[in-house]
C-alpha cells in the first residue's frame, strides 16, 4: 500500500493591481473583472468521466460498509469499480475493487491491471503516479490506497488484451469538496454584472438629462 503526497495545493493570488486604488469606474470594473478572473481560476474542476452512486455493499472487512460503485463500459468489457469507503478521508486506508468481464459471455479478465492516479483539480500538473499492478484475486482486482491530502483525483485502470490496450478513468474524491471557488465565481459574476449595468445606466440617464438641458442631480 503506497502513501501519496501529490501536487501542492494551488494558492490564490491577491489583487495588488494599481487599478484597484483608482476611483474611476472603468478601473473599478477592471479590478472587479480581475477579481472575478481569480475566482474563476480558483474553481475546482470536477471529475467528468463517470458518475458514481454510493450504496451499501459487501466486502471481506465488514458486512455493510458504504461504497461508491461506478459501472462503465470499454470495448468488449464491462467494468465495475467500487471504492471502500465511499468517501475516503486523508490518511485513511481505502481500497479499489475492480471487476472486469466480457460483455458478450461474462468471462472474467485474466490479465494484470495497472492502476495509476493523477490530480483532477483545475490547473493541476498533468502528472500521474503509479499505484500498483494487480492480478486477479477471486475474480476481483484489489488495489489499496492512502491519500495524505484532500482533493479530486482520477484513478486510471490500464490493461492489455489480445494486443489491444484498454484504459479507463474513474473519479475519486478524497475529503470534502471545496465549492467556494465556484460559489465565488457565480457571486463575483453577478456582482460585476449588476454594478456594471448600474454604472452604465446612470451614465446614460445623466447624459440624456444633460442633452435635454436638465441639470444632473
Amino acid at each position: 500500500m503506497r502513501r501519496f503526497n501529490l501536487f501542492p495545493l494551488y494558492k490564490k493570488g491577491s489583487c495588488k493591481s494599481i487599478a484597484c486604488k483608482s476611483n474611476a469606474p472603468s478601473k473599478k470594473l477592471r479590478c472587479l473583472s480581475f477579481i472575478l478572473g481569480l475566482f474563476l481560476l480558483s474553481m475546482n474542476s470536477h471529475a467528468h468521466h463517470v458518475l458514481g452512486r454510493p450504496s451499501y455493499s459487501l466486502n471481506e472487512d465488514s458486512n455493510t460498509p458504504p461504497s461508491m460503485a461506478i459501472e462503465a463500459q470499454i470495448g468488449d468489457y464491462f467494468v465495475t469499480y467500487m471504492v471502500f469507503p465511499a468517501f475516503p478521508k486523508p490518511n485513511e486506508a481505502g481500497r479499489i475493487n475492480l471487476y472486469v468481464t466480457r460483455i458478450d459471455d461474462g468471462t472474467l479478465l485474466d490479465q494484470p491491471v495497472l492502476f495509476t492516479v493523477s490530480n483532477d483539480s483545475f490547473l493541476a500538473r498533468d502528472v500521474s503516479e503509479e499505484i500498483g499492478t494487480q492480478n486477479i484475486d477471486d475474480g476481483i482486482f484489489r488495489q489499496g490506497f492512502v491519500f495524505s491530502e484532500s482533493g479530486s483525483y482520477i484513478i486510471r485502470a490500464f490493461f492489455e488484451k489480445d494486443g489491444e490496450p484498454y484504459e479507463i478513468d474513474f473519479p475519486l474524491q478524497v475529503g470534502p469538496q471545496k465549492p467556494f471557488g465556484l460559489i465565488g465565481g457565480f457571486i463575483g459574476a453577478l456582482f460585476v454584472l449588476l454594478i456594471t449595468v448600474n454604472i452604465i445606466q446612470r451614465k446614460r440617464i445623466a447624459r440624456s438629462k444633460f442633452q435635454q438641458g436638465t441639470p444632473t442631480p
Binding site: 458518475l51 454510493p54 455493510t64 463500459q73 470495448g75 460559489i183 457565480f186 453577478l190 448600474n198 445606466q201
Partner: protein, 508 residues
Amino acid sequence: MTMTHPGLPFFWVMTAISLMLLLSVWCLMSKAPQEKSARLYPLARMPFVGAFFRFLNNNTWPLLLLKIFFASLFILMVSAGLWGSPIVERNLATALTWNLWWTGVIIAVLFSGSAWCAICPWDNIASWLVNRRLWGRATNHSRLNLKLPRFLRSIWPATLLFIGFTWLELGVGIVSNPYATALLALLMVVLATTALALFEGKSFCRYMCPVGRTIGAYSQLAPIALRPIDNDICRDCTTLECYHGSDDIAACPTKLVMGRLQENTYCTSCGNCTQSCPSNNVGWSLRSPSHEAIQVARPHTDEAFFMLVLFALTLFHGLTMLDSWQQFISSLAQSINDKGQLLVSFSVGLVICLATPILFFCGCITATRAILGKNNTASFTQYFSGLAFVCLPLAFSYHLTHNLNHFFREPTKWGDLIANPLGINAEPLSMMEKHMRHSELMVPEQVMFFLQSVIMVAGFLIAILVIRHRGKHLFGASGLKLLPMLAFAFSVTLFSLWMLVQPMTMRM
C-alpha cells in the same frame, strides 16, 4: 442494484387501444367540425371559491409570501447541494429537484396552468437582485433595457437549452449528483439575472427558459388561466395598464395585452395585470380544456419546433429508463469504440431519438399533402407549424403518465430530509429501505393504472380534435384526408403505451 417498476398490465393497454380505435373510426367517419368560441368561467364570480380568488386578486402579499417561501427553499436546496452529502437520496438538492419539482411541475400544469412561473425562484431571485426591491416597479437605474437581438427573439434558445438539460440530466447523470444539481440551479439564476439586467422585459422567461416554455406550451391544454373577468371592460379600455403597468406595478414582463390574450404560452401568471388593472378586471378563470391548442393558438415555426422537440424528448425520457435502451447504448458503444460513461453513444442516441419523431411527423405531413393533391393550397411550413399542435396532447399525456409512476411509486421520506437537508452523517439507502420504498405506493396500484390509461386515451382524443380542427382550418379536410396525421397520433400513442408496459427503472 437497479430496481424497476412494473409496467401497465395487458388489460388496461387493450382497453386503451380499443377506445383509441373507436375514436379513430369516429374521426374518419364524422363530418368536419364547427368552430366554437371558448367559454370562460371567472373563478372570482363563482360561489364558494369566488371570495378566495377575489382576495388573491386584490392583495399582493400572498403571492409575495409564496415567492419568498420558494426562494428560501431554493437557497436551502442549493446549499444542500454544495455543502451537503453526496448521497443522492439523503440530500435535499437531488430529492427536491428531481423527485418532487421536476415531476410535480408538469402535473401542476394540469391544475394551475402556468402558475409555477409566478413563484419561480430563478426569476424572482434575479428580479430581487436586479431591481433591489421585493415588489413593485423598479427604478430605471438598475437595468439597461436593451432590445434583445433579433436572432434571439424566438424560442430557439429555450429549445437548445432544453436539449442541453436533457443531455445533462440523462447523459451526464446530474440527477445522481447533488453538487452538479446545485450548480445547474445557480447557473439558471445567473442566466436569468444577466438577461434581466441587460434586456427589456423578461426575455429569459419568454425566450430562453426551457422550463417556462415547457410550462407555457403545456398550459395551452390547462383548464385554468389568467383572463379578463368582463371582456366589455377590456374592449373599452384605452390606457392598457395590463400592458404598460401603473405607477407602482411593473408592465407585463412578456408584453401581453389582457383584452386580446388568446394564448397562454407566454403568460407567466406574474399577477402584474391583476394588480395594475384599475377595474380589477383580471383574474383566474376556468375555461374549456385544450381549446387553445385545438383551434385558437396561432402557429409559429419556432414554437412548432419546440413542441416537436418537447414531444421527442418526452418519449426519449421514457425510453432511457427501459432495459432495452441500456442494451442499445452498450452495443452502439462497442461499435463506435466509445468508453467510460458512453457519452458519445448517448449523444448519438439522443440525436436519433430527436430526429425520428420529427422526421416521422414531416413524413405524415408530406403524405397529407400528397393525398390532397391539387387541393393543397398551403405551404409545407404552414402545415408543419399548424399541425405541430397535435404533439402537445401526445407529449403531455405521456409526460403525465410517466411522471405519475415516479410520483406515486417513489415516495421520499420528506420528514427525514427536512430534518437533515444536507444529509450530514447519513448513510446510503440499505437494500431493505430500497425494497420498502419500492413497495410503498402512495395510491393503490390499480388506481394508478386506471389514471394512466385514462390520461393516455384523453391525450389521444385531444390529438384527434386538434387534427380535425386544424385540418379543416388549414386545408378544409375531413374524413380520410386526415388519415396520415391520424396514423401519426395513433402510432405515437401506441409506442407510448408500449413504453408504459415495460418495467421502468426506479429513480432513487
